[in-house]
Amino acid sequence: MAYPSSIKIVRVPCTGKVDVIHILHAFEKGADGVYAVGCLEGECHFNQGNFRARKRIAQAQQILEELGIGGQRAQMYNLSSSEGPRFAEYAIEMDQRIRDLGPNPIKRMRRSQHSQKGLHP
């Protein structure tokens, strides 16, 4: 059940905890993509958590698209806690999606700003 090492896991008590601002902050800090993995729809312990997360991911997608960063860099997946292989499958899919899209464009801009100033990125 190997998944790509490019993925950094941030644990939250429920995907309902994930808000748009957390996703945007991740991109500000240079993340190339963000995806939330929630429980199967209809099986949220808190009833609405994964549905809320889906809506917030959609809001983040819209904002990222408007900003020219790319809405596809934020995604939502659902699985049950016993589906390890599927977790890896989604991770590989997301990793490939981001590789196809390329790095977060703000990192390129930051690097050029730093190099203009003679600083290390």
């Binding site: 408007e66 960063i69 801009m109």
Partner: protein, 222 residues
């Protein structure tokens, strides 16, 4: 409460122009409840603007502060010490807050970050509907608590027009006929005799027709 809706980010970016030191100013009152301009929305807009400028390869400083209210002097004073650090303020308060901030800080461009819509209620999360137009002369006591000024497209005072059909207004089948609602409510209250009473011509001078309004309460002035 005053209900507002978010402005598209592109419109805000266009209004910002060449200013690169920005303060996003949220408001903790009505616009927080309608999820258009509270602390959370101020954070999201500020983050989105930072991302936008980074993506354009431009250096920008975008901070966010959320005040308890932007329609009171005392709360607006809280930014006096920091406001000089910015080229413009994007206020996420209603039009009242935007104007009051602009009045208080004369040399600072204050840009609206939301569209102020109406005075309304939260029917459910994500659905706000108009309930009051502030006409200055409340008649709800006579209409069973349902306002024909804000809820009837024609602002009629003596029953529905011919466009009322199956409880809906002719402008949109999704819009309730206010007079149907009033009649239903008066019936439920056993007060249909009130419906037969003719409303006198309304004095609209207390509405916007009389120009900008004010309320003076010398009894509470200091």
């Amino acid at each position: 409460m005053i209900v507002a809706d978010k402005k598209p980010i592109a419109e805000i970016i266009a209004a910002v122009g060449d200013k690169r030191r920005l303060l996003v100013l949220g408001c903790n009152e009505c616009v927080t409840v309608c999820e258009a301009g509270g602390k959370k929305e101020a954070g999201i807009l500020a983050s989105a603007l930072r991302l936008y400028f980074l993506n354009q390869g431009e250096e920008a400083k975008v901070d966010e502060i959320t005040l308890e209210r932007q329609c009171d002097h005392e709360y607006l004073e809280e930014i006096r010490d920091v406001i000089d650090r910015y080229d413009a303020v994007i206020s996420l308060a209603c039009g009242v807050g935007v104007q009051f901030t602009a009045e208080k800080y004369q040399a600072m461009p204050v840009l609206p970050g939301v569209n102020t819509c109406f005075m309304g209620a939260t029917e459910k999360r994500g659905l706000w509907t108009e309930r009051c137009q502030g006409c200055g002369q409340c008649i709800l006591a006579r209409t069973g608590g349902i306002c024909p000024v804000s809820r009837c497209a024609k602002r009629l005072f003596n029953g529905p027009c011919g466009g009322s059909s199956k409880g809906a207004c002719e402008i949109d089948k999704e819009v309730d006929c206010a007079w149907q609602l009033i009649i239903d409510r008066l019936t439920a209250l056993g007060r249909m005799d009130d419906y037969e009473e003719i409303f006198p011509i309304k004095d609209w001078s207390t509405d916007r027709a009389g120009g900008p309004r004010k309320v003076v309460r010398e009894d509470v002035q200091s």
